[in-house]
Symmetry: C2
Subunit: 200 residues, 2 copies
């Protein structure tokens, strides 16, 4: 946008452009769209942003995003607490839940080990995973990080820490396209990957 | 998103999914991204939405979006007030300004005539354009609507109203790909279309 544009519109465009996958042209389009929305709709949108950011925190048990103390999955007595699926981020949980086949619990790392980006093991929620396993009742931990260098490294690192605790550590089968992103996998591929998981 | 997701996150995802060109999967990605932003950044974003929507209105002269009474283009004494370029929406002005070649003023219709969608001439800012021309001082009106059925219809309709007023009415040259969208045209194509405009 150039200097002939009204400043509030430029500011809004820049805010949209900060979001992942949205360039300056799409951002301008979205900003102009906001101008055509009702005032009340824009207020709802702004409120949804603030609400989501301010009322959500991490589940005491699995580190998933929730507005309660325990997330609905950890709090569900019909789920099998002896299996824990370790994922990079909360959006990966949605992908597994869509398969409808996984009945265990989750653990969210909130990132992957990446020395190049300065993300070290202590920056992730690994300690709380070890504590969960130490408390007992868990027989299998499924490493469900993305099949990328960082995902594999993180899975291997956590596996080394968990094995001495006498728990079975498995990895998703590579039904997933190598180098791909877990959240874009279709339900069947993801279910196959879950079914064919292997000891690591 | 399924029922295991926290409600504020579902609400935010739905808000993003209402925006043009954003499907449910992208919307979920954006919602999760908001969770990883600083609280202060989210507040800035929400504030930018409200500011843009609440402080902007239409320019008294050309109907462009502005936070002043006259937009910076109408208010610029170095622009040529005898030429008026008629566009569908404010974002089309940005496209023309990027060419750096157009020195006249604009008029924003805020839509195109489309009986199928129930948009009639009276729903657009056509009356204020006629009034501007009646006031005098305008020698040429350039119809710069998109080269689509609706854009051509609107240009022809306005042309019929303006010609009896003794003003020259021109149409952008079809350097633009027919059926394409004006806002995605590159600067050179748009400049050529402007240069080769023809009497209509």
């Amino acid at each position: 946008m150039a200097n002939h544009d009204a400043l509030p519109l430029v500011v809004l465009t820049e805010q949209f452009a900060k979001l992942p996958g949205i360039g300056m042209k799409s951002a301008a389009r979205l900003a102009y769209h906001v101008m055509s929305m009702d005032s009340s709709e824009v207020e709802e949108f702004a409120q949804a942003l603030l609400n989501a950011r301010n009322t959500l925190h991490y589940c005491r048990c699995c580190e998933n995003l929730t507005d309660r103390e325990l997330c609905p999955i950890c709090d569900d007595p019909s789920r099998d607490p002896s299996t824990v699926c370790v994922v990079e981020s909360p959006k990966d949980i949605s992908a597994f839940e869509r398969t409808g086949e996984y009945k265990g619990l989750y653990h969210v790392l909130h990132g992957l080990i990446s020395p190049l980006r300065g993300v070290m093991p202590d920056d992730l929620r690994i300690r709380s995973l070890i504590d969960r396993v130490r408390e007992g009742g868990i027989s299998e931990v499924i490493m469900a990080t993305n099949p990328t260098v960082e995902g594999d490294t993180t899975a291997a690192y956590i596996s080394q820490l968990l094995k001495p605790l006498g728990v079975s550590v498995t990895r998703l089968a590579f039904g997933l396209p190598v180098g791909g992103m877990l959240e874009y996998a279709d339900e069947v591929t993801l279910y196959k990957a879950l079914e064919n998981r292997s000891e690591m």
